[in-house]
Amino acid sequence: MSDKTKLPVGQEAIEEFGWLYAHRFLLLRRASQVFFLGLFMLGPWFGIWWVKGNLSGSMTFDVLPLTDPFITLQGFFALYWPETTALIGALIVGVAYALIGGRVYCSWVCPINPVTDGAHWIHEKLGMQKGWQPKQGTRYWILTMVLAVSALTGTIAWEVVNPISMLHRGLIFGMGFAWAFVLAVFLFDIFVSRRGWCGHLCPVGTFYGLLGTKSVLRVSAVKRSDCDDCMDCFAVCPEMHVITPALRGKDDDTPIILSPDCTNCGRCIDVCAMDVFKFTHRFDDTPAPGRVQRTRTQPASGASKAA
């Protein structure tokens, strides 16, 4: 294993480009999360009602309706056909995320993301084992389960427990004991399962992932031949299995990260001192030669250690 893997994650990028540049997408992302929450808080805090409602459904400037398409889908399963306003809202949101990547919702908007990122940070600081790691398919089972329960009970079932709306609605309309759900996710991610909630369980993220299966905006490991195996991208990626096919691909494999699990968070771009990754679109066919073959086992063992 190269010495570089022993350096703190992202250290080389910071030395290479400076702290700010090596955190640019992280900072942008936090800004975006604050921005979207802030929009909703303008009303209750300052009486500026540009945006009313919450992430489940909102009305902006009294003209733009937005609705969570996953909630709308559960409504369909509960055999309810909503008014046009909600349908238009769901369509707008659905199309937007289908284009920019469904899980952009996760990394740029969802208020639980800072919570689970924080949990992950503490988890690493404590040097915890990765703990329980559900199988990759689990999240799809959970999504199916949620839709089944919606159909069986005739309700929008996930909203009874969804920590995202608990937190978001709680901040805007009043929390009650809803923080308990958020705390549960936080503790779960620290002590039970590394990246457990967002990476393996949350049906909302899973739904948005599926929604973005064919999304246009994607990250590409276009300069993968420069990769020096520092493994930093694997260490920061919340869904690290998405990197391998692109980064370790042969010449004729696409360097574009096509897995719908990729959240387009851009953190891999931040931490890579060799500037391997960049945002692009899925039709980008810039030639990206694979790396010169090395002794096979090294990167693989490094990857599974990072996992």
Binding site: N54, Y80, P82, G137, I156, F173
Partner: protein, 286 residues
């Protein structure tokens, strides 16, 4: 995690099956837990009133996305989204507590207009048709009017005064020579706005309370007809009583079973008509 490019051996396959079974079983358990929570969330407390136009509770929970737009557009801050653990209704769904802030029955019903999903039925355009619940004079021992005083406050504040709520004069048995003006709510006109409950002068809880229809009312027995509302007091096809024949007189009846007079009486006859046969009597018809 990925363990690719290994030939699948029977061992692997068995493990795969075991893992899948475990996953499915886990999800089934989680699903049952979720279904339990959902059914738990269905229990709407009696004092939590849904906004105007709200669908039946079962449909409402399929329709309402808990966005709070109705809450935002209510000019009187009547509506709230239920908070987990503090409020009874399903978390995040809109409701109001009449004793705190009643619904002012806005003419333009902004809460319904704001609702993007139709959980508040957009078919409701006249607020007088709203049916949030029914007021019930639930404590007839402490209500001041029931005691024979003239409080009348709930009656006076009602936006549908003299239709939804009236004062009915009764004899005051206690004093022997006064009247009691009993507030009486009429369920077909009461919108359940809760103005009466809010205004009841009693110090703590109100003597008159808005309750959901499912609690406040008993379904009418459909085999029982109110003779003063329906001119035919009998249930069709159950009993047949004598039919009245055309012509003058009060007792020119024909008995069931085809017992008919031979001829109709002559209307020009002098001195009226005296039947030559005895008729089945109708108790109390005089």
């Amino acid at each position: 995690m990925s363990a690719p490019q290994r030939k699948s051996s029977p061992m692997d396959r068995r493990r795969f099956l075991k893992d899948s079974a475990r996953g499915v079983a886990g999800c089934a358990v989680a699903g049952m837990g979720l279904a339990y929570l959902v059914s738990d969330a269905r229990a709407l407390p009696a004092q939590a009133i849904r906004p105007p136009g709200a669908l039946d509770e079962d449909d409402f929970l399929a329709a309402c996305i808990r966005c709070g737009l109705c809450v935002r557009d209510c000019p009187y801050d009547t509506l709230k989204l239920a908070e987990l653990g503090y409020d009874g209704p399903a978390t995040g769904t809109p409701y109001f507590t009449a004793r705190d802030v009643p619904c002012e029955m806005c003419d333009d019903i902004p809460c319904v207009v704001a609702c993007p999903t139709g959980a508040l039925d957009h078919g409701l355009t006249n607020i007088d048709d709203a049916d949030m619940g029914v007021a019930v004079l639930i404590d007839q021992e402490t209500c001041l009017n029931a005691l024979g005083l003239r409080c009348d406050v709930c009656y006076r504040v009602c936006p549908v005064i003299d239709e939804a709520i009236t004062l009915e004069r009764r004899h005051n048995e206690r004093s022997g020579h006064h009247a009691i003006f009993m507030p009486v709510v009429h369920s077909d006109k009461c919108t359940g706005c809760g103005k009466c409950e809010k205004s009841c002068v009693l110090p703590d809880a109100a003597a008159i309370k808005v309750l959901p229809r499912r609690i406040a009312m008993a379904p009418a027995a459909d085999h029982y007809k109110l003779g003063w509302e329906d001119r035919n007091p009998l249930v069709d096809e159950l009993i047949d009583l004598p039919d009245r024949l055309p012509g003058p007189g009060t007792d020119n009846l024909v008995a069931p079973g085809g017992y008919a007079p031979d001829a109709l009486p002559d209307p020009n006859m002098d001195g009226g008509f005296a039947p030559s046969y005895s008729l089945p009597s109708m108790g109390g018809s005089n």
